[in-house]
Symmetry: D2
Subunit: 406 residues, 4 copies
């Protein structure tokens, strides 16, 4: 017989998302469920009720599912007393101790539900049979012999409801994109998605800012273009100028990318670069006449990768290829966006927003910037296939290229 | 007869939260609904189906509700053709034009569903009877006479499903706390919550960092203490030292808060301050002997507002009241946290985390910092009654005091 | 007789800036100096030597000047022993104790220079006659009776030389713009500069980003325009659209600025706004026909304040007045920049850089943003009359308006 | 005969640092100088004057030196007319065109000094013989045949003086630490400094925050410890707990560092970790009994690398080795700081400030954080041998380890 348990949900379980989350959890974890009773609270103040039977192939999987349901407010409908185990030593918890959430919690002791006093996160629950009462204890407050709650049975958690309507600024707040995620592992997964997109015949659009060049990541991006992992570039005049300056003089805005030195007269390089490319007739001609022999723009020309250079009011020059009219540029960007299956945004807010505005919610998006506010703003547009990274573009692109190509 | 329409939901509407969101919407907006059919997809790949009748007291409210349901993927079960109105002029949309989402969308034209080509956000939809076909148009692409979709009828939106399981880093991403919110209005609402908490007999715990003093907001906080809006302070040695330095010398870390000048020998003030308070026997004695005559610590002593000063490894001194043992300090903070009904965290990550760790999810929390990453980290702890603000503490506290007190 | 003392400087005092700093200090503080000997080290490894007589009108001023010179490495040429005073109690320093820098330091004891052991910042120096030796002590390590160095006499500080040439990444690093400054006092000084510029008949150019409107600061800016404190506006299409949306619907990007709510259909407001202004024929016509009755753009039209709206690739619309060609827009901005005597940059990187590129180094610049990286980047352009503030635009503009107008 | 030219400096050249900078420049670039006249402005309003002869071994070096002097306001005392070359084509500058600063500038034409109109940065100067007048031209305003100034001769630049005294908030502002620097090259130079320090027998102190573990950089740091590049660790309880959790369960705060998944019950791992280490008797015992077999703490124990774990009010546990008293911990940190020759601060403000407070200004410091405000604050302490990097710790440490070890 398939292991089965019945759980109950009560409260504003629908609009708080609790019910949906619980249904999803069971399915995600490989279990099954059957709704036995479902009573919808139709009015603002009415609570809803749902009872469901949960099944899984083996008891330990069922236990895991019940654990997660429990954390989300689904409680067993046939409760037993909580299991209590004595702490083996001062500041040591028994195996499988129950670790608290910060939500109101009750434990069942001798058939009675005791509210847990002073609830806070990541504590153990100790039951004092005198009273009886239950309270949280941080690790260093645990004393040998304390009766500590273990397992999941006999515990009820009551996550607070989301306030109805827009009741002012207070509400469930959610943090945003953090830099504290395992960078290398995340880059590996982005690399895998890039490879997968190309293998499936998809088109990759890269949206790089000038910081890609300043931060020394130009070579790595050029390599990705050369090796066929980039199908189009959407950038500004500044990106192209710095990339070309790098090709002509080894500097970006006058600084040598390898030695970090500022060669004398380096501050003139970017103007010289534009002047020289204008003299040659444009980027393609500059490549043809051997003026430009490396870099991202070079690889684009050499490998027939199309690019759009959109002008802006902070441009020097601009280069002959730069589209100075904003509407015309927007139309060119729109076309690039519509054709892309995956978009990689690299350290540019302006161009990323311009591209992002034109994307359907089904396009894969990777958005990388060192400023969390930029990543936050870009992801607010609501893509369903997005990943944001707060990291250094100067290390991200080289690592990505290495993981894609090696 | 009550205006009623029937809508349908299809897809992974449960674990994507769509169904819950739609139920909640109807209730939030003052309508009612009855579930007429509900078919749960029990397996990972099965879709669910829900049909419900939606009612509202008047047709225009029903229209608003249907609009919102529509944006969330609930489509009318008895569809009619989309309404088309000619654009009155180049670059001008007809009244009540339909503004697109970035999700896959169809419009009904002569009984047939046309997919909308090149879907992107905030566009109009134009139907070209030749073909027939439907496509998005940005405002500047609209030409006089274009047949533009208006109203909500005859349009189907299909928001993408959340991927099941943890399918790698790609997924629905959500932005975090932004600084681009109306600061004054938000401060007004925080002020209202503070006043309300006090009027209800609640306790307010303020957790200020040294930046409160450096940024010149000490006077405003002192005023809030004096006027009875602060029931406890949880801070560090540094906050108290700078506040006392301010009281003794008019400087904070040696800079004059009003003139922004660094008086000669100012760099010694904070050490002198600690030395003098130690000589006096402690903060209370320093107030008693008239050494300290203003500031936050002064008002705490004068108004019997209890404070905890927790020590840290970057402290100078410390002051005699500072609890240098981390566990002892944590216990004192824990007690403050448990007693609080509202907590206001002002520009300190360390102390805010320490307090936040001890809070149940039901306590009201206001968290203010100029660094979005700090606000993000603090709100990730999952309070259900939290508001985060990315703003300047040096303008926030004075504005808050003004709005609370005036 | 005028109080006079002779000090000496030794080392790489020229290219480290030490000598210049010392000369400047004496003059800034109201003293006088005469260079008695000046020996320039002509080669990379040669040290320089300078002896100068310093005078001041009264002994206490001279003492202050010598103190500052001392902190910068200028030592008395006729040294006496350091003054030693016993600590009056545990953890209490004697009056006028010497507070250490983190540079190598020596104290003179019985005619001999003792190196101070374990030098670190903000400590007292204790001399142990046994040995004899001198060492730093933090406040809580001071014991009653310890012989603590007081005053400035008999102490030599040796600030490290700046490494010659560009010796790799290590070097004197300097922090940048911090948010930990007294916000209100700083805003007061900006207000004073603004008033002074206008009183002197100067022109004020304001460069606002859309965040000015989102953050609820539009009213305050409109007021400054109306009252004649703004002579020109340099902005983008987005700023004008949100300001006009605010005037037409009370919302900015769909959110009500006062209630923080998102009215139904609010997301269409910005497109409607552009469409309506296009229909009217432009902003001026929209004001003339009574469509727009308040806001920044309204005040510009009503008070004949010229504005430039530069287009960009992320624009919706754009409005008819928006200059969509980047070069044409740049030329318009250039003219604005050349005419300005004071420029106030408010929360926009793109437009601030565009304006900043065209400014001579003599124009007064105020640059305000909540992101320190933006302020850093803008100030790197090297204005000699600049002030940067890391603060919340939503509180800055209202406070500025209040201080200017009230 | 050695190539020689005479230059003059005028104005507030001393306290503005101009003179010192010019002297330093000549020496840095390998030239020599002799001061021929030196007239010090003794009062606030008096200007100074300095005339010096500059020599270099070859004419092109002399030219370079004169170029740099010129940019800093030192002008040739025997001026000639500026060189003029016609622009070869529209939007193309002649070779060696003079690129403007944003300071007031004059060019000499037929013996007369013409002020350059509309000065702005990075422009060419065009001389119109009719008038005659000189004005700046951006690249796209250059027309074929325009007479463009080339070389350095016949040009005078007048950088504005630094305002004397503390004349309010306006002043020379300087940007701070930027993330837009070539990351890989910078990491290479840090690696070289680390290797050099070890080869010279120096001691390296690493100050890591918990983000090192969260961001997946723990393995790389462990490797550096194992290979002998780390002589001491100064961290907090949190760092050690996450590192040990990683060793015991493969997770950090419950997230798997490789797969980015959150295993069921993962949220209990950090409490379990502390509990298990307490049971074992401490970290060393946990290593001895085989409980901990990898990670930073493991390598410290296995390789006799001493560590200090300082407690804080946000700690869970803490681990038995954690020093919970702030003063005791500070003393332990002080000792580590005094012994270090190079300190590497990794993503922790609290511990970095604590260590930084105890450092003499002569110790080499590397300070890495993704938040520019943290790097700014740490570098404000005035080390003379510091390098700050705004980058992602999760990519920095692995790249550093690779460059040091491979």
């Amino acid at each position: 017989m398939v292991p089965t348990r019945t759980v109950e949900l009560e409260g504003h379980i629908i609009d708080s998302g609790t019910m949906g989350r619980c249904f999803g959890l069971v399915m995600d974890m490989g279990g099954e469920f059957e709704v036995e009773a479902f009573d919808i609270g139709r009015h603002k103040d009415e609570e809803s009720y749902c009872r469901m039977a949960v099944r899984a192939d083996d008891p330990s999987l069922l236990q895991s599912i019940l654990h997660e349901l429990h954390q989300n407010g689904a409680n067993l409908s046939d409760p037993v007393d909580a299991t209590l185990d004595p702490a083996p030593a001062d500041q040591v918890v028994p195996t499988d101790f129950y670790s608290t959430t910060n939500h109101p919690t009750e434990v069942r002791y001798e058939g009675e539900w005791l509210p847990v006093e002073h609830i806070e996160m990541d504590c153990a629950i100790v039951v004092d049979p005198d009273g009886p009462r239950a309270y949280t204890a941080v690790l260093n407050a645990i004393r040998e012999g304390d009766l500590v709650v273990t397992g999941e049975a006999g515990i009820r958690v009551d996550p607070p409801d989301r306030p109805r309507g827009s009741g002012g600024p207070f509400g469930f707040m959610q943090g945003g994109v953090s830099s504290e995620r395992p960078s290398e592992s995340l880059i590996e997964q982005v690399a895998a998605a890039l490879v997968e997109t190309k293998e499936a015949g998809g088109r990759v659009l890269v949206v790089p800012g000038p910081a890609v060049i300043h931060s020394g990541a130009g070579d790595a991006l050029a390599r990705l273009v050369r090796e066929g992992y980039v199908d189009a570039i959407s950038a500004g005049n500044g990106f192209a100028v710095h990339d070309l300056e790098r090709a002509l003089y080894g500097t970006s805005l006058g600084m040598d990318i390898e030695t970090l030195e500022h060669p004398r007269k380096g501050h003139k390089h970017h103007i010289y670069t534009i002047s020289e490319v204008i003299r040659a007739g444009g980027i393609e001609d500059a490549v043809a006449e051997g003026l430009v022999e490396e870099g991202v723009m070079y690889e684009c020309v050499a490998n027939d990768v199309p690019y759009v250079l959109a002008g802006s009011i902070r441009d020097d020059g601009p280069l002959p290829e730069t589209i100075t009219d904003a509407i015309e540029a927007q139309n060119a960007i729109r076309e690039q966006a519509h054709e892309a299956d995956m978009v990689v945004m690299l350290a540019t807010l302006l161009h990323s927003v311009a591209v992002g505005n034109c994307l359907p919610s089904t396009t894969k998006v990777v958005c990388v910037d060192i400023n969390p506010a930029t990543v936050t703003q870009l992801l607010d547009r609501g893509s369903s296939q997005a990943v944001g990274m707060v990291t250094d573009i100067g290390t991200f692109v080289p690592m990505l290229a290495e993981k894609v190509l090696d």
